[in-house]
Symmetry: C2
Subunit: 391 residues, 2 copies
């Protein structure tokens, strides 16, 4: 396989690894292959990589290194947070609050917890995808032990008012978790400013490798381990650490800390250019989410009368990679629960596409999309039995 | 950090990655960074790596690719097997059988299952570390749903009679799991020949990268997913797959399939040379485990009057990396549960060292150990208040 040189606009799913990250990983792939739990030099070398990475990862989100627990992916971090916090705090109650637009790695563990006797209140969102802090407040019961609301939605890009929500949580002394997979390394995600007690984030969405992620747990927050065995991660996450992946994650966090702001500015420019290009050239299309509080690279749009998957495939033939509604579940769900939660009809939801712009995208990439997309939409609509002859 | 050029004799903890494995991984680090769940070309490229790896991983153990579930480490595979199988089969009963010398990633999840109402019978081992199949048979109850016995012990190297144990399990229609982290890619581990329904194994012990492992689940075996979210791994293990790690794991399995036998022969020669060198030159030392049924590279010895950790540190100063009693828990436990389970006294157990020989070790490595070890033991014994003046 040669490098395909995609125009890659699916950065919400996975990002290209920064060359500086690869450089940092290579010695840990080639030379420092020891087990960090070993007391000898090979172990110490691996441990040094692990602990240096922990400092960098903690630094990105304003945490202490000993508040960082490495996991294998954002999904594991979310499972760990929900299962671990509820099990450790169930003596105080068994009620959890979340929102309808959380990632499946939140919603599915919550279903499992319901099966085990926990109760879950799922608050709605408005048509831009915002959770109303007043809804959270109203949902709180004396037995509520955990509130989990994502920092930004990975599909429609809406950035929640986490500070306001965590303030509500704090007033009632409820543990506040936020899924930051879509935000850490992309927009400022300081856990102290956000006011959260637990925060999930991942390497692969911020130009680091797959196979490395973290859960921040504020000192003093009770949580049970999720994967049990040896004493790795201070007894809270057993199993040999993925050292090359974690070292890469550390470097990705370090780079993000210094370059995130500039990258965001560039992404916003490209994002707004793409939105304008789509709106000016295609009829019957809706931009979903919020324009005021939106991820820098997010362009989530619904095209009437056609299916998102067809658009993805036609763009793919032109070398452009984009995602349908839900990047993590594209093989599972024809209609994303996020789309229906913001009030899109089933038909409109099906015509949704997510362009997610990253730091390696250029003006040329966007211009190419604006050039090839309108004829694709036109062609697909002409093939659609639902289409009434517009465009 | 420059490459330390250790004489690396801790291959039970982690192995150097084979250069051919690294070669195979690099394109998936540099170029094929898509999310395998995505429908576009970048997703297809990642998916191709994932599915080719699955074929190779399955092939090593004689399984079908659709019976392989990728995880992040051997510990996760063991947690998944125990938690998933017991939860899915608890309608038939809540009793589990295991042995005293299992890895902590078996024993600790079982403690958690006991906390949740399951009952566990832990069978003993003899002084060579063997589980007696008759003890398993005697422990079976009408409500026994799972037997989990490791293929070989990671510390003392004893290879269990898994075929006989799984025959006992089959007679009573009980699900049989085996932890094969110490054996897959090292000695033949065909799941059909072993007669197991579930089998855990890992990449980092067979010259592949950390961060990738697998659980084999025989078609038709009921198991609940452990990490919940998207539909990755056919809905049984959510979370974006660690593609470079899994691709490396696949290559490591492919190489092992063809070279394992030759490597084992070479390791056995070096192992026996090291055992003879130690026995001929040092007094009051015991070889633990079995000589008839022993991992090819395993030399687990107990030196009287001194502490294993001191030996590790003195050898380390000579550039030789070895492990104390338990490689995965060296920072946690002064005395390994495996050592005490085979009848070693606390004091003898504390003087235990594991040399684990791998395919990159040479005659010179072993000669160096035989040269430097006796004076180290002599020196440490002279410093020991327990030592009576032997050697």
């Amino acid at each position: 396989m040669e490098n395909k040189n995609y125009i890659y606009l699916d950065n919400a799913s996975s990002t290209r690894i920064d060359d500086r990250v690869i450089e940092e990983m290579l010695p840990y792939i080639k030379d420092y292959y020891g087990n960090p739990s070993s007391v000898h030099q090979a172990g110490a070398d691996a441990r040094e990589g692990l602990e240096n990475a922990r400092i960098k990862v903690a630094d990105l989100i304003g945490a202490n290194p000993e508040e960082i627990y490495f996991t294998s992916c954002g999904t594991e971090s979310n499972n760990f947070a929900l299962t671990g916090i509820t099990e450790a705090n169930q003596n105080k109650g068994k009620h959890i609050i979340t929102s309808v637009i959380e990632h499946l790695s939140i919603l599915n563990p919550l279903k499992e917890l319901q099966r085990k006797g926990f109760e879950v209140t799922t608050v709605p969102v408005d048509k831009e995808g915002f959770v109303n802090p007043d809804d959270i407040k109203a949902a709180i019961r004396p037995d509520t032990i955990l509130i989990s609301i994502m920092h930004a939605n990975n599909e429609i890009g809406t950035i929640q008012k986490i500070r306001e929500i965590s303030k509500v949580a704090k007033e009632s002394e409820i543990i506040m978790h936020s899924d930051g997979v879509a935000t850490a390394g992309i927009i400022p995600s300081n856990v102290k400013e956000l006011g959260v007690d637990a925060f999930s984030f991942s390497s692969q969405q911020m130009y680091g490798p797959k196979g490395a992620a973290a859960l921040y747990i504020k000192k003093g927050t009770r949580i049970r381990p999720f994967i049990l065995g040896g004493v790795q991660e201070r007894g809270r996450r057993a199993g040999t650490e993925n050292i090359p992946g974690i070292v890469g994650f550390g470097k990705a966090c370090e780079i993000a800390k210094f370059e995130m702001e500039e990258n965001a500015k560039k992404s916003i420019k490209l994002r707004d250019k793409l939105i304008k290009g789509i709106m000016d050239n295609i009829k019957e299309v809706t931009l979903n989410g919020s324009m005021e509080s939106r991820l820098p690279g997010n362009v989530h749009v619904s095209f009437e009368y056609i299916e998102g998957e067809s658009i993805v495939l036609f763009l793919n033939m032109q070398g452009i990679t984009v995602a349908t509604g839900s990047s993590c579940a594209s093989q599972a769900l024809k209609v994303s629960h996020v789309c229906t939660s913001i009030g899109l009809s089933h038909a409109t939801a099906q015509g949704s596409i997510l362009f997610s712009i990253g730091k390696y995208n250029t003006d040329e990439d966007i211009e190419k999309v604006i050039e090839v997309l309108p004829p694709i939409i036109d062609k697909l609509r002409k093939m659609s039995p639902l289409y009434k002859g517009l465009i």
